[in-house]
Subunit: 300 residues, 2 copies
């Protein structure tokens, strides 16, 4: 049966040089594994500063195929440390076809799963629709180290459907590699409410689905490379929550951190026996979920 | 355009006598309206003690049609106080066909909407599947007093699909008449976590959909009428939250309360412009939501 597994959340600040970020990520992975982590997750687009603050065609030079140099490097790292990794990649699939992706690498150094971000944001300083085609691989859950691991990326975390479908694929835990922060001029008035909403909606997914969740964010201020933007203050706050939504580990808002926390997938069975939501879903009535808005005559 | 509206949440303890509960509910409605409430919501099955602690065929005597004596009484009350009401009813639809329902009554005293609880629980001391057929009217949003009001009932609150479909029907606010409490022998160890999960999942619905939510619970200990059960300690905690999930009003865990709070449906537009989740839903990929479990080959 299931047994407890330690997971590692790597909250990083990104430097200008991708090679330096890769090396720092490897060191953080080693730290997490030294503390017992069997599955270690890196933040979204960890190789680079958050380039989506502006739209620039040159940025596509940063993309790489899967498999490619970065997956090969981290496949070797996974084998060396003997742990599974969740590694986000700016994926070049073809000329003009790019994705915001992540791979799950097992301890043997094999790519066990490949996820392409399904929900792509586009807001001031988060111009992701310019860079990334929406994912077309659907929702992912793969087994590594005795855990069934679901991977979603950042903006996906606001969509209950993504959590539901990943949990329905058998995930014990939803990992959310993330790059989210404050606009400096909004932080004072709205910052706490925004961060709290972000934590709350993910804790809500844990409760509704009876699964663990783990969000892994970057941290620190990143000035935009050009243009009128004022930069982004990434809010860290990487955290894990249990299947009743309780936060079981949390990183600071303002510093790098390697968080290692034990989770017990056996807890899921107990929680779902106590509150058997999956039994009572009204699958006969959920068809209009695939409408953009409205429900036939009830829509306004 | 929209303007702020005060809503009233009536947190009650139920007596043995339905007539007494009806009279007490009317007085609470009058209090809420005196404080400016334009839409007042009563708790689930407010006419009676929570009879679902046991299965007993005699209990069906308590059910009544819609329209029926209780809706007629509260239609007159709505007209008298000049406010809209959300009134839960143990509905007798036909011999052998009963529902856990609620009606929305407008200030003119007309039934403006009728909802039948879609998700029916069945857990120790919450034997609702014995009493209630699952709802077949779908999800509801109706306009009263300048608010588009969605109504869901208790167990519905754990299902993101119910919140999503009610919001997609145009609801500005999701009202959840409720009857939830602690098993006395679980309260010490799990009580805080259970109550927190209940609040969190509903705040999560507010965030994910950019809507207000309002939960209206009963409060106080109810011994079971018979059998080996140990009774239920209903945890009150009725609350309202805004479209970023922040709690804007909250009742105590251990006392009756009439909570009146102003909500501004215009806030929804601002919140959804800031975080435009509705734009990015992957309606092409949500079809498997209508599966019980699994997603084809990814299911385990």
């Amino acid at each position: 049966m299931t047994k407890p597994v330690k997971i590692g959340l790597v909250q990083m600040s990104m430097m200008a040089d991708p090679a330096e970020n890769a090396a720092r990520a490897e060191r953080a992975i080693e730290q997490a594994v030294a503390q017992g982590a069997r599955v270690v997750c890196l933040p979204e687009l960890f190789l680079t500063r958050y380039f989506c603050q502006v739209e620039s065609a040159e940025v596509f030079d940063l993309a790489e195929p899967i498999p490619g140099p970065t997956t090969e490097r981290f496949c070797r790292a996974a084998q060396r440390v003997g742990a599974a990794l969740i590694v986000p990649i700016f994926e070049r699939r073809a000329s003009g076809v790019y994705h915001n992706s992540a791979v799950v690498i097992d301890r043997q150094g094999r790519i066990a799963g490949h996820y392409r971000k399904m929900h792509i944001p586009d807001d001031p300083a988060y111009y992701e629709k310019y860079y990334f085609a929406p994912g077309d691989l659907g929702f992912l859950a793969v087994s590594v180290e005795g855990l069934r691991v679901g991977v979603l990326i950042c903006w996906d975390q606001w969509f209950p459907e993504a959590a539901r479908l990943t949990a329905a694929a058998g995930a014990d835990i939803l990992f959310y590699p993330t790059a989210i922060g404050w606009h400096p001029d909004e932080r004072h008035e709205h910052g706490d409410e925004q961060r709290d909403a972000w934590i709350t909606v993910q804790r809500g997914h844990a409760v509704a689905n009876g699964v663990f969740v783990a969000a892994v964010n970057r941290v620190g201020f990143e000035a935009p490379p050009q243009g009128p933007q004022r930069g982004l203050q990434f809010w860290g706050s990487s955290f894990a929550a249990g299947p009743l939504g309780a936060v079981i580990a949390e990183a600071p808002t303002d510093a790098e951190a390697v968080v290692v926390v034990e989770i017990d997938p056996g807890r899921i069975e107990a929680v779902r026996r106590g509150w058997p939501f999956w039994r009572d879903r009204r699958i006969d009535a959920y068809g209009p979920i695939t409408n953009r808005w409205g429900d036939g005559p009830a829509g306004r």
